[in-house]
Assembly symmetry: C2
Homo-oligomer: 319 residues x 2
C-alpha cells in the first residue's frame, strides 16, 4: 500500500467543523480561530517499550496516544478542537490500521475533535500527537496560579494504572478482578475535559497527573512559589488495593504512580461549593486532599500525622 | 541529567512574542491569535535511517527537522510563527544537545519562530515538529487552486539533494566540489518563506518539493483536476551535474529526487511580471518550467519534444 493511499483510506474521515477552512491533504491545514478565544497547544510523543508495551492492542494504543493529549487540554480548562497525528510504523498492516484508526476516531468524535494533519513514515512504532484547544479569552488553569490556603483537589482515582503496571512487571500480583479494573485505568484513561471546563471559572491552578501526583503537584508548587500539605489517606484510589497490597506500596502508587491522567487542581476555600457543583455537572468525582501553604515544601502526612517519605518522586522520562 | 533539567537548560530560551500568553512549561502553551488572520498547521516526523543518516551532525539534523516544517508554511504562503518540538533520544549527551539546540534556535530566530512546547523522551532518534503559521484571512496557496493555462514555476534549484544522496549510496561518484554544493542543499535546505509570502497575492497553487518535483506537482494536478506539460531541460539545477552525470540521471534527480524543499507553484500568465518582481524582492530565483493543461496528465518533454518516462515518480514513505 502506498503512503498516500494509506492516508486517504484511514485518516481522511468526514469532518464537519466550521472553523476548518482546509483539512488534511495540503501542505498544511487552515483554521479560522473563533473571536474572543485564546488557543492552547500541546504535543506528546509516545515510543514503543517506553510508553506502551510492544504487544499493546492497536485500539488501546490509539486511545492512549490521543487521550494523553486531550488530558493536557483538560488540565488547562480548554476545549480540545484539533489534532495532528504523526505515526511511524514498521509496516502498513490492514487489521492493525483499522483497529487503531477506528478507536482513534471514536475517541476523537467523543470529544468533538477533528484530525487536521500529521505525518506517516516507516519506523518502529513512534507516535506524536499535537493538540489544539480553545479557551475563553484570558482564562486558563495555569500551573503558576496556586495561592496560599487554596484547597488541593484530585479528580477520579489515582494509583490504579501504577498498580496494573507493577503487576505487568511482576512486582506485585493482583487478583484478576482488581487487575482488570486497574488495567482499564492504565489502558483507557478518561481525559477530564468536562471537569476542567466546569472548574475553569473557580479553580486557580491545575495539572494532569501523568508522572505521579507528588511530582505533578510539585510543578504547580514550584511554578506558583508555594508549598503544600497533603494527606495520603485522603487520596482517592481503588479501596481494594489496600486489601491486597502493603500500605506503603499503595502510598507509592497513589503518590508517585503516573498514567492515571486525573486532574490535580487548587481552588480557594470559598469556591468549595462551586467545585462540588462543577464536579457533579461534569459527572466526575473530586476529592480534597490537602492545602496550599507558604512553606515552599510538599509535606505528605498519613492519618496519624506522620510525615511520609517517598521512595521516588515519580516518573522521570530519562530515568 | 533529569528530563526537566534538560528541558530547562536547552529549550527554555528568551522569547519576545506578544501573541504568546504562556510559553513552555505548563500543560500547554497559550497563544492569542491576531485578528484578521487564519492559522496554518503542519507536522512532520523524522526517523533515524529513514530521513537522516545515523551519523548526521546534530546541527545538520536540527536544521533539517525545523526547515522541512518551515517549508510547509512557505508552500502555503504563510508566515511561520510557533513550533512544538518532540525529541526521542537514546541519552542526554551535552555536546550533542548543545549543537542541536544551538542550530535549532538559530534557524528559528532567523525566521522569527518561537518554540512553545513539545516533548522529550528516551528513544532511538525520532523527531516531530508541529509548526503553526499565519495567513491573511482568506488567503492561501492551496494545492487545489491551479487553473488551466497557468504557468508552472519552480524556485531555486532542484535535484542537488538527490545527487548528494545517491553519492552517499555509492550509486554515483561526484567530484568533491560538486558534491559539496549538493550536500549543502541536502543538509541545509532554505525554506522559501519570503518567496511564498511575496507570491501569495499572485500565485494560484503551490507545494514544496519534498518527495520529488513530478510527484509533488502531481498532488497539485490531482487536487486541482488538471494536467501539465513540463520541460525537463527548463528545470533549474546545478549545471555541472550535466557534465558529470548521464542526462537521464539528471532528469531522474531533478524530476523525482526529493529533499530540495524548493517551491513548485502555478500562476496566471498575466502575473508573470508580478512573480518575477516577487522573486527579486525575496532574493529567490524562479524558473518557468511548463504550463497547466486540461489533460489531467503530467506530460514531461525534453528539448526535442520527446516525452520522458520516469523510472519512479519519487519518494514513497513506505516504499
Amino acid at each position: 500500500m502506498k503512503e498516500f493511499d494509506f492516508i486517504r483510506q484511514y485518516l481522511y474521515r468526514q469532518q464537519n467543523d466550521k472553523n476548518i477552512l482546509l483539512g488534511i491533504g495540503d501542505d498544511a491545514a487552515i483554521i479560522r480561530p473563533q473571536p474572543k478565544h485564546d488557543l492552547c497547544f500541546s504535543s506528546d510523543m509516545l515510543i514503543k517499550n517506553r510508553h506502551f508495551f510492544a504487544d499493546v492492542a492497536p485500539a488501546d494504543l490509539a486511545h492512549k496516544v490521543l487521550a494523553v493529549n486531550i488530558s493536557d487540554m483538560a488540565a488547562m480548562g480548554a476545549t480540545p478542537r484539533w489534532v495532528l497525528l504523526s505515526v511511524a510504523l514498521p509496516q502498513l498492516e490492514k487489521t492493525w490500521l483499522t483497529e487503531f484508526s477506528d478507536q482513534f476516531f471514536s475517541l476523537a468524535k467523543q470529544f468533538d475533535i477533528t484530525l487536521i494533519g500529521g505525518d506517516t513514515t516507516k519506523g518502529d512504532f513512534a507516535f506524536n500527537v499535537t493538540i489544539i484547544g480553545e479557551l475563553p479569552e484570558g482564562q486558563a488553569l495555569r500551573r503558576d496560579a496556586a495561592q496560599v490556603d487554596d484547597d488541593i483537589w484530585v479528580s477520579g482515582r489515582v494509583g490504579l494504572a501504577a498498580a496494573a503496571l507493577n503487576h505487568h512487571w511482576g512486582k506485585v500480583i493482583l487478583p484478576p478482578n482488581i487487575f482488570d479494573i486497574c488495567e482499564q485505568s492504565r489502558l483507557r484513561p478518561i481525559p477530564r475535559v468536562a471537569l476542567g471546563k466546569a472548574i475553569l471559572p473557580f479553580a486557580h491552578a491545575a495539572q494532569d497527573i501523568s508522572d505521579g501526583l507528588a511530582q505533578d503537584l510539585g510543578h504547580i508548587l514550584k511554578a506558583s512559589g508555594v508549598g503544600a500539605d497533603i494527606f495520603t489517606d485522603y487520596l482517592p484510589t481503588l479501596p481494594a488495593l489496600y486489601d491486597v497490597l502493603e500500605k506503603p506500596l499503595v502510598y507509592d502508587y497513589t503518590l508517585a504512580g503516573g498514567d492515571d491522567y486525573e486532574l490535580v487542581f487548587t481552588a480557594p476555600e470559598a469556591s468549595r461549593n462551586n467545585i462540588l457543583q462543577a464536579a457533579e455537572a461534569s459527572h466526575t468525582s473530586v476529592t480534597r486532599i490537602g492545602k496550599i501553604t507558604q512553606s515552599r515544601h510538599l509535606n505528605i502526612f498519613d492519618t496519624n500525622g506522620v510525615q511520609i517519605q517517598l521512595n521516588s518522586l515519580g516518573f522521570d522520562h530519562f530515568g
